[in-house]
């Protein structure tokens, strides 16, 4: 078992562990394995200069972590099988991790043992948005209510949008899954988004910084010699992970040769393969048209099915698609005829579980599960004819293997079970190919105008949330445009959550003192942007009465209802008749954004000091 963590600045790495939470009686010293200490022109703060020693500079570099980051690793050896251990990370004698029982792990059961296995599979989650959190929560609630925890989980890639940089891993992966990561092993497959900054051939990049995967068959299987693809055993299941993104998929090339060798040796009762690019999909990607996907189907699936793989788990396409029991569909485009072995729904209470012979046999059928629905915006292009379930919902898949039965359930973001299928391997089954199997209904793509209703398929982020805290004033003297600049003392200004208002309109901060005294309220709020060059759209969603002018970093970006000039000189304030929030795109704002802290400033005008209502309630949104 490897325990990996990071600190700002160096430490004295020690891990203590033991079988009881209160008795961590074993101790292992860790080692620093990587560091980020600048170089290549990155500016280094004076406080890190003393750390730029030859020894530290000789450490492998963290790809894009902040300067001063040190990564530590501890390998715990000689552990008992199928045993829970509690652990704590210490800086010398000082404990860093909390003593709440959440820092623990359970070792693998013996290979081949017949114990039940439960794991969670997700893909394309790394957006940092509420959908991602909801999918995670739904899983946690399900396993909690069933009193049956996970043994581990699989991530089929795209865990750190948009380009798999270190900061994206931090905020969109580690922080999002923190509670599960500290006590359940995550077995990863690299997605194309991680691939922008990680290289499968060299094993360099934030993705490879983040994970320790087996290269020398430490967890079973044939040694791959690389972290890009690997296999492992868990009880009676053998798992195979491939890098579908940036390695050759050709038979005869290393990854396919390794796959063949690994399958030749695999003796588990179940074979499960996972990677990022789905061989069959018509979700947000089309496996009939894209080479990455076509090649996984044409070149890799034949090896898998001749090796007896039972289930293939993938993502990339932002949808949930689950196939019938199928075999031999390697052509382009994909048709269902003669490749479906059982066209039922696989539900034990419906058409019945899919049946295969006991043991591992070539070409008795595979179930394909595309689960790229853990957070990114969903999308569908058409109907993949081999699919039995096509569901546009956020969620993940809980898989249970109990002896001769494997069950998969898609748990959606609300915790509901949206799909259920089972495969039973018992006795001898002779597969038959159906000439005219069941096919899903054709899908008519909605018109463009309707397409946006579910939200656009781009990453959307709230930069300033509806109830965010702002600095504001209506009674301090405000002159000129100084107050809109990034640096402004705002002395005597108040703080409070938006919206600001009085009367019948929905506000949070009551500013009724303003009535009859002032018509203008000035407000400022900071927001952060990590990668300005990726922002495609900035938008202001604002409910207001009656008029406003908005500024970003001192530049006016939009106004509504203010005729001329600004501040106390503003002229021609129009009464706003419309009710509710209105959206304003801010195309001109893109040029004035900068990496790091930015400031949005808004002056809100009432048409008259006598009016009984006033409101300013802004939200700032970003597309990247």
């Amino acid at each position: 078992m490897n325990i990996v963590w990071r600190t700002e600045g160096p430490m004295d790495p020690v891990v203590r562990y033991g079988k009881e939470q209160g008795t961590l009686d074993k101790e292992v010293r860790g080692a620093v394995v990587r560091a980020s200490l600048g170089g290549n022109g990155t500016p280094v703060l004076p406080k890190w200069e003393p750390l730029r020693t030859p020894a530290n500079l000789a450490l492998p570099k963290l790809h894009s972590a902040p300067v001063g980051t040190f990564q530590y690793e501890v390998k715990l050896k000689d552990l008992e099988t199928e045993t829970t251990y509690f652990y704590a990370v210490y800086n010398g004698g000082k404990r860093l991790t909390e003593d709440d029982g959440s820092f623990r792990f359970t070792t693998h059961p013996k290979s081949g043992s017949d114990r039940p296995v439960r794991f969670w599979v997700i893909g394309d989650g790394g957006t940092g948005r509420s959908e991602q959190a909801a999918v995670h929560d739904a899983m946690r609630k399900t396993v909690e209510s069933e009193k049956h925890p996970l043994d581990f989980w699989l991530h089929v890639g795209d865990m750190a949008y948009t380009t798999g940089r270190d900061n994206e891993f931090q905020s969109r992966f580690f922080e999002m899954y923190d509670s599960t990561l500290r006590n359940k092993v995550c077995w990863p497959a690299m997605g194309n988004h991680e691939g922008f900054n990680a290289n499968g051939k060299t094993g360099v990049g934030p993705y490879y910084d983040a994970y320790v995967t087996p290269t020398r068959a430490e967890a079973g299987g044939v040694a791959s010699g690389t972290e890009a693809y690997y296999s492992f055993d868990y009880a009676n299941v053998h798992f195979i992970c491939l890098d579908s993104h940036d390695l050759s998929r050709k038979p005869g090339d290393p990854m396919a040769s390794w796959l063949k060798a690994d399958l030749e040796k695999a003796k588990a009762d179940w074979l499960i393969a996972f990677w990022h690019h789905p061989p069959y999909t018509k979700g947000s990607h089309d496996s009939d048209k894209e080479t990455d996907l076509t090649e996984m189907r044409k070149l890799i699936m034949p090896i898998c099915e001749a090796g007896g793989v039972d289930v293939v788990l993938t993502g990339h396409s932002h949808i949930y698609e689950r196939s019938m029991l199928m075999d031999g569909a390697y052509g382009t485009p994909t048709f269902a005829d003669n490749v479906i072995l059982d066209d039922g729904d696989g539900d034990p209470d419906g058409d019945g579980a899919y049946r295969k012979s006991k043991g591992i046999h070539a070409h008795e059928g595979t179930v394909q599960v595309v689960t790229g629905n853990a957070g990114a915006t969903l999308g569908r292009n058409g109907t993949m004819p081999v699919m039995r379930r096509i569901i546009l919902e956020h969620g993940g898949v809980l898989v249970d293997v109990k002896g001769d039965t494997l069950t998969g359930r898609m748990i959606n973001r609300d915790g509901a079970e949206s799909d259920l299928f089972s495969v039973v391997k018992r006795g001898k089954v002779t597969p038959t190919r159906l000439t005219l199997p069941w096919v899903p209904a054709e899908y008519k793509k909605p018109d463009i105008a309707l397409k946006g209703v579910g939200g656009p398929s781009v990453d959307r982020k709230v930069l300033i949330a509806p109830g965010a805290e702002w600095q504001f004033t209506f009674d301090q003297p405000v002159r000129g445009k100084e107050w809109t600049q990034p640096v402004f003392p705002a002395e005597g200004w108040k703080r409070g959550p938006a919206g600001f208002g009085y009367g019948k309109l929905p506000f949070r901060t009551d500013v009724r003192e303003m009535r009859r005294k002032a018509t203008v309220l000035y407000a400022r709020s900071e927001f952060r942007i990590e990668q300005v060059d990726r922002v495609t759209e900035l938008g202001l969603e604002i409910d207001f009465s009656d008029a406003f002018i908005a500024y970003i970093n001192g530049n006016e970006v939009i106004r509504s209802g203010v005729g001329r000039s600004s501040g106390r000189n503003a002229q021609n304030i129009k009464v706003r008749e419309q009710k509710g929030p209105q959206f304003f795109a801010l195309p001109d704002a893109l040029k004035i954004l900068k990496d790091g802290v930015n400031v949005l400033s808004i002056e809100a005008h009432n048409s008259s000091a006598e009016k009984v209502d006033f409101l300013l309630s802004p939200t700032l949104l970003l597309e990247d």
Binding site: S130, F196, N199, K201, T202, G203, V204, T215, R216, A217, G225, T226, K250, P251, G252, D253, P254, M255, S257, W258, A261, D262, L263, E264, A266, K267, S284, D286, K289, E290, T291, D292, E295, K298, P302, E305, A306, G328, Y330, G331, A362, N381, A449, K451, G452, G455, P456, V458, R460, P466, V532, D533, T536, E537, E541, P581, F583, A585, P587, K591
Partner: protein, 303 residues
Amino acid sequence: MRAALVTLGVILCAVPLFAHEGPEGEIEELTERMKRNGETASLLTERAIEYRVIGKLPEATKDLELALAFAPDSIGAHRELARVLFLGGKANEAIAIIVRGLAVKTNEPSDLASLRMLRAEIYRSQNENKKALEDCDAGLRLHKQNPEWYLLRSDIQKRLKAHKERLAGLDEGIRETGAGVLEIERIETQLDAGQWNAALPLIEAELRDSRIKSSWLIRRARALIGLGKKAEAETDLKNAFEEIAKRLNPKNPDVPLLLDKALVHELLGEKKDALRAYEEARDKGATDSVNDRIKALLETPEK
């Protein structure tokens, strides 16, 4: 909270937005982004990768050339451009780009190694095996952790019939990476070098440990043929053939199995059947080395 999100969804469709559905959508979005904010090396490289995925190599080339103009020190952009040129059949232009890339100063030796290895692949495709070997050796000195590169070098050494160096190189790879494919390649090398007695016990051990045995039965047959034990070899080959026949998908056979089937035929002296299986494997996407097998087979007289 939910109500707020619904509002956002509806409101947002009022402004033009670019759904990224698949590579085409991604390209559209990147194009739009660059129109607004200007072109950057990283965005151009991203778009080029999408172009490559859908096979639009000229567009990918154009983007990468521009990306290099913006970021002349990006080794990644050099590598991508060279790869796209090579894929498009422009091997010499690809080599010229690699030469430029190798001149870039970097702290990351694996970057330079990846350029070297790409050039080795290109040289190999031009049958310039000595030059290819030089690049492999240099690349593997810079970065030792990629089993794929040891295999590439082994393949080039095989073409040069440098079996001794090939074995030594694979030993190094096994030490450095532990990769199972290198162990297999090592046994293949022993067979190519005629070291039948050295290979045999290793093959026996693998056979005992394997669920699927045909590949190892074929390797044992090769060793037995080398040792003059024709009858025993034939039994192995027939058993291998039987297992292969059971596993072959009747409609869509997979390439590694077809290659094994072809080899069984070849070793049994069934030239026509061997050719047919090799050709089928080639048509289904086997690596170029299958062409060498076909050529060699066509040159041998019928038994």
